[in-house]
Symmetry: C2
Subunit: 320 residues, 2 copies
Amino acid sequence: MTTIDNDELLSIRAAELYYDENKTQDEVGAILKLTRWKVGRLLASAKDKGFIRIEIVHPRARRLTLERTLTERFGLADAIVVPTAGTNGSDDLRARAAQGAADYLASLRPVPRTLGISWGRTLHDVSDHLADGWATGVNVVQINGGVSVNQRAGTAASTAFEIARKASGQATLLPSPAILERLETKQSIESDRTVAGVLSMAANASAYLYSAGVAGADSALVESGYLTSADVDELVRRGAVGDVVGRYIDAAGMIVDPSLDERTVGLGLDALRQASTSIAVIAGDGKHAVARAVVTSGLCTVLVTDEGTALDLLNPEFSA
Amino acid sequence: MTTIDNDELLSIRAAELYYDENKTQDEVGAILKLTRWKVGRLLASAKDKGFIRIEIVHPRARRLTLERTLTERFGLADAIVVPTAGTNGSDDLRARAAQGAADYLASLRPVPRTLGISWGRTLHDVSDHLADGWATGVNVVQINGGVSVNQRAGTAASTAFEIARKASGQATLLPSPAILERLETKQSIESDRTVAGVLSMAANASAYLYSAGVAGADSALVESGYLTSADVDELVRRGAVGDVVGRYIDAAGMIVDPSLDERTVGLGLDALRQASTSIAVIAGDGKHAVARAVVTSGLCTVLVTDEGTALDLLNPEFSA
DNA sequence: GCCACTCTTGCTCATATGAGCAGAAAGCCC
DNA sequence: GGGCTTTCTGCTCATATGAGCAAGAGTGGC
């Protein structure tokens, strides 16, 4: 038979009486024929041997310890980690992270005058979870192109409008495709007064909020028709792990295909890296690699993610 | 967006700081700008809304609340419920229950002078988990037949010897097949002096310890060759849910096939029902139905089981 | 607007708990 | 066995927490 230290067993019995039956340490002592100090010590030992697990089960709970470790390890200004426990599939998880991002955004001080945002499912979820009046007078500007190619892009516009409306601010769309076929077209559209104005507004935003996509056939850029899935396969072959504001990066956070990148309209990644507040919302099991690339290459100052992704980031596989 | 009461959210934030970051309620109050009394109240509300889950993770932990409910609901003398959390498959679960039964047996007062036992995988596990010297001078007697048909029955003997050895007592085997083909053979073997002696010893045991089998092709009685799987199928068709000391019972705890039962050697079920201490060890997802039959028909005074079975027993499906 | 009612808040006070310490017990080396 | 260190035990005392209460803040009826 398995031999277990007798004190260990006692500490379990004590924990059962103390936590499950809410008896006082004194009462537990009486039952187990121990002094109440001994009981206190047994409980303490059970705790630090990890036999007592206290979990906060709530969709809006957070994992503060993980958050602290993340900020320290990657030099972030802040991290928000939502728990995985009790989620039903990735939609649920994304919704939790979106809620976390919404809460964070609402608590951000100073309140940003202008908020630059990307678009996509995650951003749409964030707009959805923001409360009416989350702030007042925040203007929202799109930082990458994608209007009116199809419905998906339509939600891009509505995301911006929604976030702005709920903060009684103005939304400014970037009236341009995400990626153009020819460099010249891209250059001329960028020099158009309207587009240039939006881009400069985007460049001067006080904070950024964006998500990241996985490099794969279900990528938003493929669904929106800017790239074919063969294009994405090729990018993956060249090391792409995902896209950030329409730009494909590799594990080191470097642009995978510069010629493609030059034809992509919107804020450059360096602008995100230099921003004082740039919030990345990246959650889901499939996004571990992009999340790592974003965080390690300094693309964000604040990361909003889920427990699983956070644990993966802290996994010692890449540590010093 | 989902509307959640603001106090609820605050109580979650408070719980994170209090439980995960072990701050004092005062410190939490300072952070959330609340008085320490408000924090106390928020924590209390989080607790009773069930947002705080405290779990004791240890193979030898027990579920005292379930145990109490079981004893009350079914009028048992005692119940032992081992947790399911963290088990790897049914072997692990059975091992935990066996450990629980061993612990219970060792703590039983008064110490039984004679212990009647059945045999099978579960009982073997119990013998394995008993500590050397779990008691002194306990004699063990088999209460149902099954010696020397094959190895499985061989372990039947060793189970008895092991339990007795560890308590410095004698083991007495029941030298008879479990089931005989003809009633006359059964009657004559029972009247044999040796067998009759063992049976009377069994009938006078101060406590009984047995398990129950599921009525199915993998039943121990089939594996041991006493029944064919067709026999068992027929028993199932007639309402059998499982067997106890070699006797098949239905959901009401009644003998399914009296003519078969008359050819079965060993203690009758009524003897178990009248015993002052009869401990049933029944664990595993497949055994919910037998467990219910055993408990509701008063076959045991003490039930050792797992969380899943306990919850099934308390499931209001059969309640008043 | 005013009263009766309930719900919430901040308190006092009793109790439960953890830190720290001195003596007891148990190993351990010789 | 004697002296040594190390661990364990039961204590005192300071602190953290929960129960209970009275005053305050809302709320609805009229």
